[in-house]
Symmetry: C2
Subunit: 252 residues, 2 copies
């Protein structure tokens, strides 16, 4: 079977969600790190819980609700303009350093995003970034009214891009997404953003704060019975993966 497309998760895979930290720290001095970590964690939780409950709302609403939850834990509130400004920080995330080069090198293939973000969030995100022009399609889960890792979300790849699941390499750093895509039948490359040994050093070398707790919860291989086909340490390793004719297990 020939690979025809590379489909990428956005948040945490092509774009660094922690690039909101400067904005949260500027708005809430001394609390930026805590807010950034709890906000992202609750944003994910709300997407999973709304999917399980059958009460989908788009990712902009989920991002706003999780931000307000996070502020409330500190006894803080913010006026609507501040909330809007912070939430829209998700429209201006910084891509990972190697993302543009990796997308360029995959030019012969279809290149797309499949993300939980709402279509307007994703369109702004790409337009505001150096990845603009390097993607053939930016696909939001919006029309399915569920979030990844629900299988309906991954159906959009075939429906929108016209490629069969077995013709796709799906790339994500997010354990839940790796499990969901693998479970759906895609060939998945896990991009390892925090190596296990680096995390272990951080967890055993001193006090465990919000950033270390976030990494502990979010960056390590999940035990959900759906291991990825390959593990890479940089997106630029993707062409080599194909060049070797392999899509087996290993770190490239």
């Amino acid at each position: 079977m020939t690979i025809k497309a590379f489909v990428f998760d956005a948040y945490g895979t092509l774009y660094d969600t922690h690039s909101v930290a400067a904005a949260t720290e500027a708005a809430f001095p001394g609390h930026g790190d805590y807010i950034t970590q709890v906000w992202r964690q609750k944003q994910l939780e709300y997407s999973w819980l709304r999917t399980a409950m059958g009460r989908w709302q788009d990712f902009r609403a989920v991002t706003r609700d999780s931000f307000e939850y996070t502020l409330a834990t500190l006894g803080l509130t913010a006026d609507p303009a501040t909330v809007d400004r912070l939430v829209s920080a998700y429209d201006r995330l910084t891509p990972y350093p190697e993302a543009a080069e990796a997308l360029r090198s995959l030019g012969p293939y279809r290149r797309a995003i499949l993300s939980n973000g709402s279509q307007p969030m994703l369109d702004s995100l790409v337009r505001n970034s150096p990845l603009n022009g390097l993607l053939d399609m930016v696909i939001s889960v919006d029309p399915k009214r569920v979030f990844k890792p629900h299988p309906h979300a991954y159906e959009l790849i075939e429906e929108r891009l016209g490629v069969a699941p077995e013709e796709v390499v799906f790339v994500s750093s997010n354990g839940f997404d790796i499990a969901g895509a693998t479970s759906f039948g895609l060939r998945v490359a896990r991009i390892e953003r925090v190596p296990g040994d680096a995390l272990r050093t951080e967890l055993t070398g001193g006090p465990i704060g919000p950033a270390a707790m976030f990494k502990a919860l979010r960056t390590q291989p999940e035990r959900l019975g759906c291991a990825p086909a390959a593990v890479i340490r940089a997106l630029t390793a993707l062409p080599d993966l194909l060049g070797r004719g392999v899509f087996g297990r290993g770190v490239f």
Copy 2:
């Protein structure tokens, strides 16, 4: 409409999940607090993700997988007997101090548990505890092959206990469960195990460690569009709630 039954969540509502901390600390000295918090958080995440993915496994398996994930973040492993022993700590949790008295005082009503725990886990949990004999029924989500907050889980109350949703007061400390039960149509009392002002003091008074992060993520009112009908600070407030003929908002 007459209330006929009180249905309780088990983990965090009648029983304190942090009572596993002594066992984790004894097995992994110096890591007990971290392991206890991350384990419980991942246990919940795996239940939500497996529900969203349509890949249910019972809560014993989820509890084991999340425990092994947690150990792996520290670079630790454990032999199968140790894993079994730690996982079975969830069969011997300590009830909250007021739980038995509260159940006794609700004697005129049907009293049941509806929990994500597997039936064997729950049967052991109750049998090993002073709540044994104080419950008319212990209901696991097992037959539905989804976890709370999926609506199918809450259908079990009517199917097993023979009471309509509007005849039930459902009691939980867990935000996802409060949202799921409210969304399903039950009258929900939220038991507040960590008051907001206590959490704020903890988060702003010094370094934020694993226990504070857990409380920040898990104990405050969720923003999922499904607020509970009432908030209580002890389970023993439940008869008074009914006695007042109210099930409106407020802290009792």
